[in-house]
Symmetry: C2
Subunit: 375 residues, 2 copies
């Protein structure tokens, strides 16, 4: 609503950035961008990263310049921010309900390539009415429950039934399967993730077979996240990967392990909440100006970058309480620290601007235009 | 950043409000406003409600019209939103650190009555430099640790030392004690809350005695929240109460009990997140369009208003998963429900607009101008 001014000017040194601020380490960010683009190319699949992570068309366009075919969004409002920011191809990985939202969805589909999901005939009739009234053909994916009990039909026959209905509904066309197993992303061992995605792939394979046996071509199977994208990507049944967090990483994703029990560390932390010490009441306690209105704690507390002896133990609305375990650690009022967010997506949603940093200098300010775009 | 449009137009029926939307039940809100105003008047203390709860000058001015002497804020950005929205008296219940923030603080102090906190000589020298340069006298409260280990000096001598330093610093004047015991607010039994605030009051009394024995008048003692305000209010040592959540209430505050073990229910739930069922995949599961980007889960899951048999069991970024315990419960795609937030303050911070409802009709749209104002 209010136009918050950015916390920095381009060209100033990092230390002068006002806090709390959302920093991007541009070198690490670009390495993540490139690494995922190469991995996806090698696997012979397409990348359609989820823009709910960054909510910023500037970043979406960089992902597309590196080879992504478009982006995913969760909400019509996010898709609007992407299209009006220059992104020409958006897949909404969600069911859209309500007359005004569907009107906006169809208006967007007249300006860009748009797809949406369904898991019930109710969705189809609402989409079709608006599509027909506007004389367009809307691409509809059927969402399948592939292991995470949220939206989505059971694999096989229920999907066939809805796909058939899409095919025979004027104004709609069947685009394929939305098959995302969210809970698999944060399983810690490779065995657990493999087992989870084996189930996902089996669901998709069975469903594709049923569809094809009934003469319905499944153009695109789309899904996967940063935790499991190589498993879906090499499964031979997925066409598009939706991983989004890889560009930033967070504390939660960094807990995923590889075969030898060590952290996977495939991508780097490139997103930080910059914060100032505002009080230093005791030897073992310091207080930061970033509480849970500046760093989301839904997946746990943030870490302090480069200071393993300092723990962020408690988040109030606007205070972060730190425990200093090393009595030699010298933290003074006014010192600025970098927090690695527990969960990147909801943290980004608390900010209006990214501050891009290279060589300790502000290189760019990118507006987070889909911040709060949850309608 | 982006100017999100409101989710409703004035005059339309509630059922037509787009979701997720932040609703205020205006009748309940006004009863809460009146009840607190009367309670405070009877206790003979002043009310200075915390605006971090609502972040909206329209609401602040209603609180002042009902007798509040001004508001509290946590950040300079919040105070700016209040002053530019017509609030003439703001107490920042926090230490402010950093040159640009202190410049803004002093600029604001030239336009309204402003006070700020300190718990270290470092704060004083920074405040004084800016105050002197601008030829103003800044009111400074000393923050005291009265039971919640966050910011604040220990009671007694350490406070005396800093108060003396404020008195002798040109550009500053000693305003009194900031004495808020945050953790006491959510202790569930009246005995626990009484014990906690007995400690708080004792800290304040000892500190006032030390100050007065040294010839320093403590003009104002300020603190308290919605959970304990009657205890501070009748203690004879508090002058101002900072309770803020009373206007809205939330699931967490509603767990506070009275003597007979029943919920206290002193104030009513007046704040709701309006949400739509977007998927109904199984008999016992429904999915809402409000996840943790629309309703904060830092203090637990929201409740579904008027439906005790329906549980909000899991929040994704943009999905809320419901468990339906009564097989007779008929929830359809498109149905709209009211969620009672687990924690009102961070939930408000996710929205740009309040939708005021009376008699099931949209009566007003109030902009949340301090949303995201954490600098």
């Amino acid at each position: 609503m209010q136009l918050h001014t950015p916390p920095a000017q381009i060209g100033i040194p990092l230390e002068m950035v006002d806090t709390p601020a959302l920093l991007i380490d541009l070198d690490a960010f670009e390495r993540n961008l490139k690494k995922m683009a190469e991995a996806v190319r090698q696997m012979g699949v397409r990348l359609r990263p989820h823009a709910k992570t960054h909510k910023c068309p500037v970043i979406a366009l960089k992902q597309m310049a590196a080879g992504a075919v478009g982006v995913c969004c969760q909400k019509v409002g996010e898709a609007e921010a992407m299209v009006y920011g220059g992104v020409c191809d958006v897949h909404i990985t969600n069911e859209i309900v309500g007359k005004s939202k569907i009107e906006r969805l169809i208006a967007l589909a007249k300006q860009a390539t748009i797809a949406v999901c369904a898991d019930d005939p109710i969705h189809l009739s609402a989409y079709a009415a608006a599509a027909q009234a506007n004389n367009i053909n809307l691409a509809v994916f059927v969402e399948v429950n592939v292991g995470t009990p949220r939206c989505g039909l059971d694999p096989g026959e229920p999907v066939l039934k809805l796909a058939k209905q899409i095919q025979k509904t004027p104004g709609l066309c069947f685009a394929g399967l939305q098959a995302y197993h969210g809970r698999a992303q944060h399983k810690r061992t490779p065995e657990q993730r493999k087992e989870a995605i084996r189930y996902t792939v089996d669901c998709v394979r069975r469903t594709k077979a049923v569809l094809e046996a009934n003469g319905i071509k499944c153009r695109t199977v789309t899904g996967a996240g940063t935790g499991t994208y190589r498993l879906e990507g090499t499964s031979k049944v997925f066409d598009e990967l939706q991983a989004g967090s890889y560009i930033f990483m967070d504390v939660d994703y960094a807990k995923n392990l590889k075969e030898d029990g060590q952290p996977l560390n495939e991508f780097e932390h490139s997103l930080f909440v910059y914060s100032t010490i505002m009080s230093r009441p005791t030897r073992d306690r310091a207080v930061l100006d970033a509480g849970h209105k500046a760093v989301s704690i839904d997946s746990g507390m943030p870490l302090i970058y480069g200071m393993e002896d300092v723990q962020y133990t408690r988040a109030s609305d606007e205070h972060g309480t730190l425990k200093l375990n090393d009595p030699q650690r010298d933290l003074k009022i006014g010192d600025k620290l970098k927090l690695i967010p527990g969960h990147c997506d909801p943290t980004v949603n608390l900010f209006d601007w990214y501050v891009g940093i290279r060589n300790n200098r502000v290189e760019c300010l990118w507006p987070i235009t889909a911040r709060g775009a949850f309608r």
